[in-house]
Amino acid sequence: MPQFPMRTVLGGEAVGGLLDQYRDVTPRGTVEFLRRLARQVEGIRMLNVNSTRTGGGVAEILQRLLPLFEELGVKARWEVMAGSEVFYRTTKSFHNALQGTKQRITAEMYEGYLECNRDNAKRLDLDAEVAMIHDPQPAALIDSRPRGAKWIWRCHIDLSTPQPTVWQFLRSYVVRYDAAVFSLPKFAQRLRIPQFLIYPSIDPLSDKNRELTAEAVNRSLQGLGVPWDKPILLQVSRFDRFKDPVGVIEAYRLIKKSHDCRLVLAGGTAADDPEGAAVLAEVREAAGNDPDIHILLLPPTAHLEINALQRAATIVFQKSTREGFGLTVAEAMWKGKPVIGGATGGITVQVIPGETGYTVSSPEGAAFYAKRLLNEPDRLAVMGRQAKEYVRHRFLITRHLQEYLAVIIQLCRGAR
């Protein structure tokens, strides 16, 4: 991890650190406010626990947040659970069940889950004044909470329609936390503990979101085999039916009748996901031999390529029919692109119709608004600028950090 030397300037505020790199991209006064806010919990020992060090949105944001916590004087640590393949299969079933897909969970699976949590409680250093436990995998660690510590369950998944038996099992652990944090109000459940609302965020300085030169974008596109010779319509998402990639192709065909353009569908590889492979086959069939449709299978590390595609795109789609939060929307908006998204989940709090993009419920709706934007480049440019400003105020990592600090301050009031 890079080190950032600190220096002090008038007024006693340190500049030259990691946080100061965010000054130019965040709203006025954000960095000073963060430093002042953090003084209320300076020196506090904070622990984060999740189930993976790399891959996935939780690990990605923790990697970025921890150095910022450190710089603000919060002694933040990150522990990762260890589990057998059976444990991860079980928690994958939990995950699906909690997100509304019916699963069969046996008594042995529940017991295996608890046993793994007990083993990790012995192995991990859980000593901290505040702990943020991420998602269902480590939730049962609450059994081993040190006396006096404040524990927060951070739920990153869509809990709006959970399978009741699985939720009842998990709920018996969640209610013993001091608070829970959800990404949208509709993900919250009936609980007797405070449930805070914190949207996820993007890091404007990460490879996926940092500024790129036109030359770098061009180079990336050449590497991906996508000519940059006409407007690019883009959707970045897994090949999953809920992301409706076939619907995006239908929209493209309606647009193509009047506007020459390319469609890029960029997503992760689906080798270990039988359903993903089936969806990918459907997408390929729908695309046929159209040379202007590009289906890109990118590895999880292709951050710069995704960044370049989003910057090269004229319009970005996220035409999901069901979505958790859908941070790819904020990523595209940060690059000044209007987004046409499905009216579902977190897309509805990111896309403000007529201001930062449009929300739609059909391929026809997506095509209608895309054509309108292609016909009116001035409107497209204004909307793109507004989209970026909106993300600057609502979906950057600095706002996320502020809200995590606020939760800690709220829970620790009177306790320190």
Binding site: R28, F33, L37, P185, K186, I198, T348, T356, A406
Partner: protein, 232 residues
């Protein structure tokens, strides 16, 4: 007079809102009425005041969430308009505001044969906020210092000293006007009297900031401030 130094400085304190989901949802206007009746005052406050802290693009059709939900989701424009005209700055406490909201919804429903429901499937989700303050370490002893700091301060401070001060802390004139008029402040009651009214103009926080800075400039005799600092 205008160069006078206050006995006590004005300290700029900013704030942010931590949102707590209450787990109470209304799918129709009748249930909306019931929950408004029993919701904590902090929730009524959140849904009628946090508008000012939000980005202009997400402020919705009307400056309170009840009106916006009625118009957009229950597709009841009449109720939306009747609630939308409510000005939170006309109320001295949140319970008065709650009573007015309840009266408007109750009266409206009494004239309808069917209760409007959310047509979009989106319920009204009740949230309340906890305000977390942070002293910015900035203080002003003179009107000029006040004006300069005001022009550049983090916008949450404007919210804290105008909105929070009034309804949650019971300082009805707001902190800026209070200090401007106070004997141990600057003792400028005329300026304070116009600053009080800024909160009632229906402006965004940036709009309030700009207006207060211009009012200070009027007293200081300074030219209209440079737009790029105030308009960002």
């Amino acid at each position: 007079m205008i160069e006078q130094r206050a006995k006590q400085p004005f300290r700029f304190v900013s704030c942010m809102e931590l949102r707590e989901i209450l787990g109470k949802r209304a799918m129709d206007e009748s249930r909306l009425l019931e929950i408004i009746e029993e919701a904590p005052a902090d929730s009524i406050y959140y849904h009628t005041h946090s508008y000012y802290l939000r980005h202009p693009y997400s402020q919705g059709v009307f400056p309170n969430d009840f009106a916006t939900w009625a118009a957009l989701h229950a597709q009841d424009r009449v109720l939306g308009e009747r609630l939308g005209i409510l000005d939170p700055f006309e109320f001295d406490d949140i319970e008065q505001l709650r009573v007015d909201i309840l009266t408007i919804i109750d009266d409206h429903l009494s004239h309808l044969r069917t209760i409007p429901r959310s047509a979009t499937g989106e319920p009204f989700e009740f949230v309340r906020s906890h305000v977390i303050e942070a002293d910015l370490g900035l203080q002003a002893w003179t009107l000029r210092e006040f004006r300069e700091t005001m022009a550049d301060v983090e916008v949450g401070a404007v919210y804290n000293h105008v909105c929070e001060a009034r309804l949650r802390k019971g300082r009805l004139s707001g902190d800026f006007a209070g200090w401007l008029s106070a004997e141990d402040g600057l003792g400028l009651p005329d300026l304070a009297a116009v600053v009080v009214k800024v909160g009632r103009l229906g402006l965004s926080l940036e709009g309030m900031r700009t207006r207060i800075v211009r009012l200070c400039d009027g007293v200081l005799g300074a030219p209209v401030p440079d737009a790029h600092r105030l308009g960002r």
